[in-house]
């Protein structure tokens, strides 16, 4: 079960300048930036600051490493196509519809968040999930309802997949009394004890330790639950990742670590922050099962998660899944996005997880265009309801400032 696709990495590595000393790399990048102006940066001031994209868009390769990565992902997807359609065939149709609905709802909900954020309805930080929907849906909808989930601050969509209503999530974003944590947490801190949703957490990597502890409790009490623990690829560089995986494997804790590799830690690309692109393989340092998964393919995420759940329920074995996706939006709503190009984003959007899933569902004759329209309409309605609820919900009472400080 140690399935890792090295193909992606190898191609990336042929152009990888990540191992070069910083000074050499910067000079290389600056030189490339000066000569290669094929792509237009979103803003003008980001070109000289060690931006990897400028370096990778070289004339001789006729495209960027992103170009190569996406093309390869497409090729691998085609190769997998048969087994993907097989999995669709094996899956309950109502569930498939619900999966698509959750992805569409997530997308439309986040688009609405961006809109109302700009109107000043949402304060503070607001990190959107657009582009990563297949990861949350594919993995979480393979769980039993009493399985536990914990995630990072990019948590709106996962909160809804776990069952928190769009109304309660939107009201929380508005800082209103009707929010799922009464307006005390905001965008980064959605929780539901009843639904076993252990929260969105704001310290990069912090939830990896907590998630490991949730799995510890499941094993201690013998409940048969598994813990699903999400984090971004930048969290892998934190000590807590390594400390937690060591204990999880040592003690055989039923924890499924899902690294949502959206390729950027805030504005720093993975290759500028990590000595290797291969995150799944890091699990092998702990002799832990691991897989590299295409995060644009919801069925691939689902199948890999099902395999991980089987291992976890059988003997408590943990798994690390590296799920590679791409963040179509900025890190947060306040991200100027000057570290990557529009072309790069467009390239990844060719593999929009919702479109890919719709194509497969259509090909499998599970759903039709008419169903898609219906799903869109349902999602739009749910988002409108959420906004209305959030608008109408009152702000928390002032006395709430001092409640819940101590139990």
């Amino acid at each position: 079960m140690y399935i890792t696709s090295y193909l992606y990495y190898n191609v990336a590595l042929t152009q990888n300048i990540g191992n070069w000393p910083v000074k050499v790399r910067r000079n290389f990048i600056l030189a490339r930036t000066a000569t290669s102006r094929k792509t237009e940066a979103i803003t003008k001031n980001g070109s000289g600051n060690g931006v990897k994209k400028a370096a990778s868009k070289t004339e001789e390769t006729n495209g960027s490493s992103d170009f190569a990565i996406v093309e390869l992902a497409k090729a691998e997807y085609l190769k997998r196509r048969k087994s993907q359609l097989e999995s669709i065939k094996k899956t309950d149709k109502r569930l498939l519809r619900e999966m698509l609905y959750q992805m569409v709802l997530g997308r439309r909900f986040e688009e609405k968040c961006a809109e109302v954020y700009r109107m000043g309805k949402i304060g503070g930080f607001c990190h959107l999930y657009i582009g990563q929907e297949a990861i949350g849906v594919g993995s979480m909808m393979a769980l039993e309802p009493n399985d536990m989930v914990i995630t990072s601050y990019r948590d709106h969509v996962q909160a809804m997949i776990k069952g928190i209503t769009p109304e309660a999530v939107m009201a929380e974003l508005y800082g209103k009394e009707g929010g799922c944590v009464k307006g005390k947490g905001g965008s980064m801190h959605m929780f539901s004890k009843e639904l076993e949703f252990y929260g969105g957490h704001g310290i990069v990597g912090g939830q990896i330790g907590v998630g490991t502890g949730m799995a510890y409790a499941a094993k201690y009490k013998g409940t048969g639950q598994v813990a699903l623990c999400f984090f971004g690829e930048a969290a892998v560089n934190q000590g807590i990742f390594h400390e937690s995986l060591n204990m999880a494997q040592l003690w055989k804790l039923p924890c499924i670590y899902i690294c949502e590799n959206n390729q950027y830690g805030m504005g720093t690309s993975q290759e500028r922050a990590m000595s290797t692109r291969n995150i799944a393989k890091k699990a092998e340092a702990f002799e832990m099962a691991n897989e590299f998964v295409d995060g644009m393919d919801v069925m691939a995420v689902r199948d890999a998660t099902i395999r991980a759940i089987e291992r976890a329920r059988k003997d408590g074995s943990p798994t690390l899944l590296e799920v590679r996706a791409y963040r179509f939006m900025g890190h947060s709503m306040s991200d100027p996005g000057n570290y990557r190009t529009r072309d790069e984003i467009k390239k990844y959007q060719e593999r929009d997880p919702i479109v890919l899933f719709q194509d497969s569902l259509k090909e499998s004759k599970v759903l039709t265009d008419k169903d898609f329209q219906k799903i869109e309409a349902e999602a739009a309605e749910a988002v409108e309801r959420a906004v209305k609820f959030a608008d109408e919900s009152p702000f928390p009472q002032e006395s709430e400032l001092f409640t819940d400080v101590y139990a």
Partner: protein, 327 residues
Amino acid sequence: MAVLTIRDALNQALREEIIRDENVFVMGEEVAEYDGAYKVTRGLWKEFGDKRVVDTPITELGFAGVGVGAAMAGLRPVVEFMTWNFSILAADQIINHAAKMLYMSGGQFKVPIVFRGPNGSAYQVSSQHSQALEAFYSNFPGLKVVMPSTAADAKGLLKSSIRDDNPVLFLEQERMYGNKGEVPDDEDFTIPLGVADVKREGTDCTIVARSMTVPLALQAADRLQEEFDVSVEVIDPRTIKPLDVETIVSSVKKTNRLVIAEESHYFASVGAEISHTIMEHAFDYLDAPVKRISTAEAPNPYAKNLEALALPDVDKIIAAVKEVCYL
């Protein structure tokens, strides 16, 4: 009443709570097979086995996180730091996670966890092993901070801490593990958190001391009575957070003088907080400025003479009391 060392009183508390509640377990470095670096967990692993007494790797941030997650999911972990100095590695889990979880989750997720271990100086272990961290942790809403100074308090407060639904930081003192005192035999003996104890009654000056400085203050009080006919009242808050302000304030209203003796460094200490509290609540009752005895404003040194110079002692406390009594 049995006479026990603080070490054995803590051990008894752990043992009784492990028996009382199946969700209580002890984890930390060397707590199981090795019997505890300072033998507080002696015999527990033999008696209760791997499930209830868990040796961890040396991975403070990691096992603190495991404790927080396990507590959120319904267990009651007692996490030992070999010393509180090492808790600094785990501060993210204590401060960013344990302390705020209940609040951030709108009251949904309690974190009933105890972090415990020796705090403050030992004997010549130099700068990185001699820090008193109560002021640091007391600054964060959501945490409770407990510091016992006697065997009975150690047992009664630890049992209460384990039963408490909040994250409790339980700060012991290595120099005091061997100190003996009477401890009630009753298995349901507990001491509520947030209640100070008047360790000695007096009328001329109040000393507020905690942990290691409590026995020093009591010795100072004996000598002040004997040598200068000064009657000193010694108060041990026992719980730093929440602080029993009332007991301290009413004592100062009686004695009109206050000396605070503590092991942490001087700047921004718990003593500074108490001093301010007295200014707020008993300013008109003071006959002298509040005086504080703390550890010197330098990392703790190794050399025996320098270490002694840095730490609070009986003579320094006596000098401070004399000063506020204008003697």
